[in-house]
């Protein structure tokens, strides 16, 4: 799976494990946006990376997409994450006040592979998982790519604001399943149409498996490449435990199981064995 991307982070961008601090926290719709210091992490970040954070009293780590990095602020370099409080860990994280200290490891995982040329790119993200597409859009625009961004969600509360992305994206489409804002419908409903209208050479997708799968399939039907950011439970996030199996087909056509956190989370959409996931 290492072929279609830039040189692995390996020794070039070793990750760090640091004591981070919450420097801002903000409720936005159904999510909590946290701004964190994490010395060394923002500096090494590439779009599609995630961080693993420790939750008090819990052994397993929680993975969070990096939504944004700032090279400098009053607190030095910072990173933003978007937390949807669902289980014990995300609820704890969402409740952390400014000043709270959190152990952070990152940046982790293989980032989105960037095209060499200035091609057309469709970025499709659902819910909090749309977070990593925003820095990706910026990066693609810097490379001269035409970026079409689709932000989808079950409802308005779980829609990431696309306002800031308008700078980097040529077009922004909003989809909600209940039609509360933007177009009504799911990514699956609109995938082919979106790929066609954006004239995409590469489709990037982040979200639940169904979103990734339909985006990858639409890309394939249109003859485009796809890159999908797959979430599976990642107990450590660092590649140490082999606890995050992601079934894929290798370049050699052989079925394999790779670690989502180390060989992923971003992989080529046509390589994922969705039925085995």
């Amino acid at each position: 799976m290492a072929d279609e991307r830039e040189p692995g982070r390996g020794s070039v961008h070793p990750s760090v494990h640091v004591d981070g601090e919450v420097v801002a926290t903000k409720r936005v719709g159904g999510y909590r946006h946290l701004t964190l210091t994490a010395p060394g992490v923002p500096e090494r970040f590439r779009a599609g990376n995630f961080v693993a954070v420790s939750v008090e009293g819990h052994v397993a780590r929680r993975a969070l997409w990096v939504h944004r990095v700032r090279a400098s602020s009053a607190f030095g370099p910072t990173l933003d994450v978007v937390v949807e409080a669902r289980g014990s860990g995300t609820a704890w994280l969402a409740a952390q006040p400014v000043g709270a200290r959190i152990a952070i490891t990152g940046p982790l995982g293989r980032p989105f592979a960037l095209p060499k040329d200035a091609v057309s790119c469709l970025l499709v993200g659902e819910g909090y998982a749309a977070a990593p597409l925003f820095p990706l859009a910026e990066r693609l625009r810097e490379r001269g790519c035409a970026v079409s961004l689709v932000v989808s969600a079950p409802d308005e509360a779980r829609l990431l604001s696309a306002l800031e992305a308008r700078r980097s994206a040529r077009s922004v489409t909003v989809l909600t399943a209940d039609g509360s804002v933007g177009q009504r419908g799911t990514v699956a409903d609109h995938a082919d149409d979106l790929v066609r209208r954006s004239d995409a050479d590469v489709v990037y997708a982040a979200g639940p498996h169904a979103v990734l799968r339909s985006a990858a399939a639409a890309a394939e039907r249109a003859g485009a490449w796809s890159q999908v950011a797959v979430e599976v439970p990642t107990p450590c996030g660092t590649g140490l435990c082999h606890g995050c199996p992601l079934p894929v087909v290798g370049e050699d056509g052989v079925e394999r199981v790779v670690r989502a956190c180390a060989e992923g989370p971003v992989v080529r959409g046509d390589r994922v064995r969705w039925d085995d996931l």
Binding site: P14, V59, P235, T238, L240, P245, A262
Partner: protein, 296 residues
Amino acid sequence: MSALTSAGLPGPVMVASGCGGTGRELEPYAGPEGLVGLDLVTRSITLDARAGGPGPRVVEVPGGLVNAVGLPNPGLEHFLATELPWLVRAGARVLVSIAGSTMGEYADLARRLSRAPGVAGLEVNVGAPDEVGAGLFEVREPFHSASVIAAVRREFPSDRPVLAKLRPDVSRIVEGARSCHEAGATAVVIGNAVPAAFPDGRAGGLSGPAVAPIALRCVAEVHRALPDLPTVGCGGVHDLRSANAYLDAGASAVQVGTALLHDPTTVARLRAALAPAAGTGPGRRPVPDPRPEENR
């Protein structure tokens, strides 16, 4: 010098099998010297490649993790061709953990590993929490493990250590340790994931701080019964206090597993804190924990 050290294993902190990835993933967190000199036990290697089990493989429970990873590994050939040379180049002292479905497989693995450059020693995984489910050689009675050890020992040079890794089962541990020692084990690693169930009832193994008191009891009993047998404590080591509990109970070294999944710098911190320089005598002595008391 502790008995284990004189047997060729510096310790006192080792990476437990299956919790250090392929070694590469640990390097960024291993401290200023990286893997140099680090006693690293590989994940268990089998003759043939294994894909591992289905997800969820690892689930969080109070005080630990339940896992049924299924020993994913690339098989011996591929390990020898890629992972081992990398680890050796990185400077780690590599102890290869081996697992087999028959005694012959264990012997085979030992023979072939004896010829591979850079293998500092072997750890024989004979107490996996779900050996039957995982298709491994079943260890019901202590003499089963002892016969595996004997088979391995015959194939592996006697100047390099063979560690027997035993399940922390208090009612058999002394007999198990004694018979493995008699069969030629240089030391026994006491502690593996404890047979347990996932919340949905599926079989797995419990690891992490939750199991530390269980493995500690086993170390204490073995040390009392067999004071000359070097033991390695394994289970729930996550800070200096938990490491010292094993060393105080007579262990020559400790292994760190689950704690690395929570904080990958754990081994680096413990190595620094327990470095020989920190001791007072010639050997490694437990040193006081610089952090505030926790979980007394």
